[in-house]
């Protein structure tokens, strides 16, 4: 009997198209049944190739892909019980919405009456009833997206694979369809694997965020883990929201160490999990942009702050509920503070002002 579980395990999966370079390079990952998993990374990082290998449109050069306890390498998509939603949707332009959605049932030999009934039920689920007889070209982008989703979901797959499903939509619709995707995933109760290059999309949707770079997984974890506790500089910079600083370890004192920097007294960083720090090591640390507080020179520091970095304001961007203040704190890297709107306008800075950047010592995070 076939398993209905949609848990996925990738074991040492490699893919090379030219036999020389691995586009996907030894990927190991476990995705739980019914999870919403987002692969994220810049273009060319291998995320789409992984998706296509899970879907069965590409064979791995090495490694195993296990779905529901069964190695599916070499099986056709139908046998895997996966369904894919293609980037730019790949709707059949000569078929109506109803026929597009019923297509998979048609090729499975379901009778016309049955498949049209099933298609109509699915059309209702994605709220397209009044468009059932239209051709894809007569639909808006968001409607096409829902047709594509319905077409993929109609076969009751155990895994639904989405290749940049929202990239063809404009910003407002994207946020709307994002909720729609999550709602569908919960309604269907199946595993969704979603490939994107938009950080916000990934952390808003996913139970499991997988950050990739050059065919390798850099970090996989819950959205909050990946965003708030990046492993390394790459993940921190890619996910955004962090200031990354680097320097040499000046001294190690109990539960903290001090990083030599432009700061008069260095930067004090908690040791946390990183236990093997010795004097002279060059390491990166991350400080969340919204943890940075800005005070005018000579004013009292907020409680818990020991580090003080003198900076000049380079630029200010109003973002609504916060204000983005760009500083020249560190010579090579960008350093940004997200100041809550009300705090900022209580005593607004202007470009060129000298300020002190500071943060609660506990919020600095050493990176690998």
């Amino acid at each position: 009997m076939k398993s209905d579980r949609g848990d996925i395990e990738l074991a040492g999966v490699c893919k090379s198209f030219d036999g020389v370079t691995n586009v996907v390079d030894g990927v190991n990952l476990k995705i739980a049944d019914g999870a919403y998993c987002c692969f994220i990374g810049p273009s060319g990082c291998g995320k789409t190739t992984i998706l296509r290998m899970i879907a069965g449109h590409e064979d791995p050069t090495a490694g195993e892909i296990v779905i529901g306890g069964q190695n599916v390498v070499g099986l056709a998509p139908v046998q895997r019980r996966t369904a894919m939603m293609f980037q730019s949707y790949a709707l059949f332009p000569h078929l109506t919405v109803r026929d597009n959605i019923a297509f998979a049932l048609r090729v499975r030999g379901m009778s016309k009456a049955d498949r049209l009934r099933a298609a109509d039920a699915m059309i209702e689920k994605v709220r397209l009833t009044q468009f059932a007889d239209r051709l894809p070209a007569q639909l808006s982008g968001g409607q096409q997206q829902r047709v594509a989703l319905a077409r993929a979901a109609i076969t009751e797959p155990r895994v639904l694979l989405l290749d940049e499903p929202l990239s063809a939509l404009d910003e407002q619709l994207r946020v709307q369809m994002r909720q729609e995707l999550r709602r569908m995933q919960q309604e269907l109760g199946i595993t969704f694997i979603h490939v994107t290059h938009t950080q916000l999309e990934a952390i808003a949707l996913a139970d499991l965020v997988v950050v990739m770079e050059q065919g390798r997984i850099k970090q996989a974890g819950a959205a909050r883990d990946v965003y708030a506790h990046p492993h390394d500089r790459y993940v921190a910079e890619f996910m955004g929201g962090q200031n990354v600083l680097s320097g040499r370890v000046e001294k190690v004192n109990g539960s903290t160490f001090t990083l030599a920097q432009a700061a008069p007294d260095g930067i004090e960083v908690p040791l946390q999990a990183r236990s093997t720090v010795s004097v002279g090591d060059k390491i990166d640390i991350a400080v969340r942009r919204d943890d940075v507080a800005l005070v005018r020179p000579g004013r009292e520091l907020p409680p818990g702050c020991t580090t003080l970095l003198p900076s000049r304001v380079l630029a200010i961007e109003y973002q609504g509920y916060f204000v983005k203040v760009m500083l020249d704190t560190v010579p090579d890297d960008a350093f940004v503070a997200y100041v809550p709107e009300k705090t900022f306008f209580a005593d607004p800075f202007t470009v060129g002002d000298v300020v002190m950047a500071t943060w609660a010592t506990g919020s600095a995070l050493p990176l690998a």
Binding site: A76, F86, P93, F103, A104, S140, Q176
Partner: protein, 309 residues
């Protein structure tokens, strides 16, 4: 109203056709300038001759090539009353249908192979050019070249005799209806390949992948995706093949050895014996029949939309 209903209500605006009144005179002039080269060629070399033929079909004749301007339907009555006309049309339509079936099948699969199986684009272009090799020589030479292949002493007969498959050379190979069809198929398959190739090449490969993802077999993909999406190419190729075969007399004459005739060969002979009005009437009739066939074909596909896609 939920947000979903709200944007379900948004209908994409399909650009409405501009009425002539909405086009500015300037744009109008530019439009005419664009078509003027074609008009300058078509009017003197296409429209005018057709009008001459149309006029001649209503003229009376003295039987020796002399035409009396006037208006008489005598030629049409003669053509339409002749049992020969029906016979010739049936013969021509038979050749047309048989040729169409073979060119369609061969053309479709050659195009399919080139588009979906040849991964290397350079190779595809090379193979495509290979299809045009027969056209590097003239039609007459191509016709003559069939003799050493299909003739009584030809390669095929020699080979079959040599293998002991037959005792007497096959007469049916040359100067027969079979030979006519072979020549047509050979000559016209390219007219099917090109438009079908063209419409197939525009099928997004992702659609094929999406169909595979849905569980479609190779045959399903061909039946449900490739054929419907190649419809316009098939229609264009059909128009080429049908109009060329219906308008041909040379291939029939040469390849049948004079044994078969076509609609055109009949009025070609009328011209030979100076019966201009009846030849003109036959020509007008054939033109009308072809216009009817072509408009029927065009009804099945929106060629215009296809070409501008």
């Amino acid at each position: 109203m939920t947000e979903f209903e709200a944007f379900a209500d948004m209908q994409p605006s399909l650009s409405p056709a501009l009425s002539p009144a909405q086009i500015s005179p300037r744009a109008n002039l530019a439009g005419w300038l664009y078509v003027s080269p074609l008009v300058l060629v078509l009017v003197p070399f296409f429209v005018a001759p057709i009008l001459v033929v149309l006029a001649a079909s209503f003229f009376a004749t003295d039987g020796f090539g002399g035409l009396t301007p006037g208006f008489t339907l005598a030629s049409y009555v003669e053509v339409l009353h002749s049992a020969l006309t029906l016979k010739l049309y049936l013969a021509t339509i038979k050749f047309t249908v048989v040729t169409w079936i073979f060119t369609l099948i061969i053309g479709f699969f050659v195009a399919y192979f080139l588009v979906f199986h040849v991964r290397n684009q350079l190779l595809a272009i090379g193979l495509f050019l290979l299809c045009t090799v027969p056209f590097w020589t003239s039609n007459i030479i191509r016709m003559i070249s069939w003799i050493p292949l299909l003739g009584k002493e030809g390669l095929i007969n020699q080979a079959l005799l040599g293998l002991g498959v037959i005792r007497q050379p096959l007469e049916v190979l040359l100067f027969s209806d079979l030979a006519v069809v072979i020549a047509y198929v050979h000559q016209l398959t390219i007219f099917m390949i090109v438009p079908i190739f063209n419409s197939m090449a525009r099928i997004d490969k992702k659609l094929i992948e999406a169909a595979i993802d849905a569980g479609a077999s190779r045959f399903d993909i061909m039946r449900l995706i490739v054929v419907p999406m190649s419809k316009s190419g098939i229609a264009l190729g059909t128009i080429f093949v049908v109009s060329i075969v219906m308008g041909d007399f040379f291939v029939v004459k040469v390849m049948s050895g004079g044994g078969s005739a076509s609609v055109v060969s009949a009025f070609y002979e009328d011209v030979g014996v100076l019966q201009y009005p009846s030849a003109a009437a036959s020509a007008v009739l054939l033109t009308l029949v072809l216009v009817a066939i072509v408009s029927l074909i065009l009804r099945t596909v929106d060629i215009r939309q296809e070409i501008t896609r």
